[in-house]
Amino acid sequence: MTLNPYFEVLFTAVLTIGFIIVTSLGLGQLARFIARQVGASKRHQENTFTGYAFAAPWIVGFLIFVIVPLGYSFYWSFTDYRVTENTPPNWIGLDNYARLITNDPGFRSSIVNTLYLTAVGLPLMIAVALFLAVLLNQKTRGERVFRMAFYLPVILGFNTAVLLAWRLMLNTGTGIINQLIRALSTAFPPISYLNRGIIFVQELISALFLGISSGKFTLLNRVWEAGFPAANRVPMWVESPLWTKMSVVLLMIWGCGSMMLIFLSGLNNIPRELHDAADVDGANNWQHFWKISFPLLTPYVFYNLIVGLIACLQIFEPIYVLYRDSQPLVPSTISMVYYLWQASFRNFEIGYGSAISWVILLIIMAVTAIQFMIQKRWVNYDLY
């Protein structure tokens, strides 16, 4: 007999609450039993029971919603599980990993693209966030409004309206960004040279990365042969494979409000006396920043670097919102996680997607570990 759907929901809710109570008490009892086995006092046993019983809802949730899916993902990574095949997963051992590492040019490209976004995008993001933090650390009228304005993109995220606005702003011919560049280039000729120089360097770097991912450097040669860009050149943003990744970097920079806040709190933590002493010694603003502020901000830089690095290596949203239409431009910018999404939710190869996710995890762990090893050389913890 089919149940009333409302009754089913109610029944499920009651069952869930019952499950939480039973597992909480069960986990508490188990913890008490273990405490007894290791010879703990009666009071300690009771405390253990209470502690684990109260922590149990979170622990059980963690086990069910994190550890169990993690386990399934790990298991599926050794299978040929495909959602649409209507067949159970078959164990295929390390085949997915072997295919991923030796026979998947798409995944290699996604690694190179992610490397570009990390190597080019992350330093720019940190630099802009630091610059904004220093500016907004000044005691000026309306500083709170500016702080809010720069943090607003973090709250807005990448919704449809934001996507549409960015696509319009990035239009090569009529977008406001290129209109500004054109206006400034016309009004101030040195800016025209600067703009063309940036275009040339950016296109060379981008062509180099595209060459690394495809194994052919034809495009790099073509950019080099084309030489210094003509006077009417503007960035091709979402229209050229040479600019697709830089468009994503722009969106990343736009969302640097969180980093800015961290830097702001760091700047506020620097003792005023240090700057006063520097003033007595006749230090200028530049020296204030590089000799006092920046060295003492290095723990914050390190934090932003680690968090930003992990975020960059997992980048998905900006690419998804800008290039969802799967145009021929998309492959020039897809990241590792976008590739994982493609494998899992476009091709429905859950087994292969799971293998990709575990490889990404290993890459992130390796890069983060390297960062932690290197940090001893440049992070200054003297103040803390």
Partner: protein, 443 residues
């Protein structure tokens, strides 16, 4: 010690969960053999539709569903509205859980991807069970997998070549590749100040790259190209495939110039690219548009006086097997294999796909009904739709039967992306597609 034991516990549970048997991907075999509940028992038939107009949904809820519910006491029809944006993730959830809507909305090329997870509906919708099926046009093929019906097509939406006769320099329509390239050069203008297009001779799917995989397939089919050889291997190493890729490059260069010129695309505007802006009276920028009817101006726009509708003619000068082609896309409703109410789903489909219902469903969207006998009234009254329907029945080639369509799209987009930057030659592009598609097909 306690910490160690606790960690040991967690690790053990991880181990158990990793070794646990996987979630079944389909309803257990018994589920399909369980007798349908008696008519008096409450049953909800769930239908998942993607991006239909409010008028269509309102009509389904006010006409079709009440009629169906009256004919099936105890059955409630529940329509959920989704969007083509994000549908794939949602559908993956349905099939992974083996639970979800009984009837789902799919696109043309999805029959091969979802086929194994869709119900064989021959016993309910085949000619023996439902004589009306003979009234469906070629779009019905898109609703089959391994020769068996999995659902019914709603409409057919072919891709035509719409051209502005008042703007075009040279004769219309170009009927071979050389004429198209000459046409592109003569009808494209670039503003030197902004280094961007102000007029584009031909806007195919993805105006910027002019090398989208769907456009490639349309051109390829027009040369008489077949996607697969007799042994099932892909045919991207054929002369037709090479000519198609070369045509993509020639047209792109005739429009944008060499890649190094870095010419910007047409500005994003409002309305169809072959329409006229009401406020400024300026043209939106395209002379010809190779796209579905929905990308063309609304039928009541005055600009239609100067718009021709044609198929794409291929290149008969160099390929004698060339034929005029309109690439036919369609939406269809499929019944999921996990559905426990396949007979009810079939009954609902029969009710929503009668001659009158299929006509009404499409009337709200001005699309061509998939049933031949439903193409009356607004279809024949509108000169544009009448012409489109004629071309579709004469030159329609289905966008279906593509094995591993999602993978092929990625493979082709990647290779064609390198074509427009001149990173790869047309021959290298085709070789890359052939090689990677062979791997994707497991051959």
């Amino acid at each position: 010690m306690r910490t160690k034991i606790f960690i040991l516990l967690i690790l053990t549970s991880v181990l158990f969960s990793a070794c646990a048997s996987p979630t079944p991907t389909q309803a257990p075999a018994e589920a399909t053999t369980v007798p349908e509940p008696a008519a008096a028992e409450p049953v909800t038939l769930k239908i998942y539709l993607l991006d239909y107009t409010p008028d269509t949904i309102a009509w389904l809820k006010s006409d079709i569903n009440p009629a169906f519910e009256a004919a099936h006491p105890g059955v409630t029809v529940e329509i959920t509205e989704g969007s083509w944006s994000g549908w794939d993730t949602t559908f993956a959830g349905f099939f992974a859980a083996g639970e979800g809507p009984d009837i789902i909305n799919l696109g043309s090329e999805m029959n091969t991807l979802y086929g194994p997870s869709l119900a064989d509906m021959e016993q309910y919708l085949g000619a023996a069970a439902w004589p009306d099926i003979s009234n469906f046009g070629p779009a019905l093929e898109n609703a089959k997998f391994e020769g068996k019906l999995r659902g019914l097509p709603i409409f057919t939406a072919p891709r035509y070549v719409f051209c502005r006769t008042d703007l075009a320099v040279g004769s219309l329509p170009p009927k071979n590749f050389a004429d198209w390239v000459a046409f592109a050069k003569a009808n494209t203008t670039i503003d030197a100040a902004t280094n961007s297009l102000t007029q584009q001779a031909l806007v195919p799917v993805d105006a910027g790259s002019m090398a989208d995989w769907q456009w490639w397939l349309l051109v390829y089919y027009s040369l008489g190209g077949q996607l697969y050889k007799a042994d099932g291997t892909p045919n991207f190493d054929s002369p037709e495939a090479l000519a198609t890729t070369q045509f993509m490059l020639d047209m792109r260069q005739a429009t944008y110039g060499p890649a190094a010129d870095a010419v910007g695309a047409l500005p994003a505007g409002q309305g169809s690219v072959i329409d006229i802006n009401d406020e400024t009276a300026a043209n939106n920028g395209a002379v010809c548009l190779a796209h579905s009817g929905w990308a063309a101006p609304a039928f009541d726009r005055p600009v239609w006086e100067n718009i021709s509708i044609e198929p794409f003619y291929g290149d008969p000068a160099n390929f004698p097997n060339s034929k005029p082609v309109v690439l036919a896309f369609n939406d269809w409703l499929a019944v999921a294999d996990y559905s426990k109410h396949k007979d009810l789903a079939a009954d609902w489909l029969k009710m929503a796909f009668t001659k009158e219902a299929n006509h009404k469903w499409n009337e709200t969207m001005s699309l061509i009904p998939s049933r031949n006998d439903a193409q009356y009234g607004y279809v024949t009254d509108s000169p544009q739709l009448k012409k489109e329907a004629e071309l579709a029945s004469k030159y329609g080639v289905g966008f279906a039967g593509i094995a591993e369509a999602a993978k092929l799209s990625v493979i082709m987009q990647e290779a064609l992306g390198k074509l427009i930057t001149e990173e790869l030659t047309p021959a290298e592009v085709n070789a890359q597609i052939q090689e990677q598609y062979l791997i994707a097909l497991g051959k």
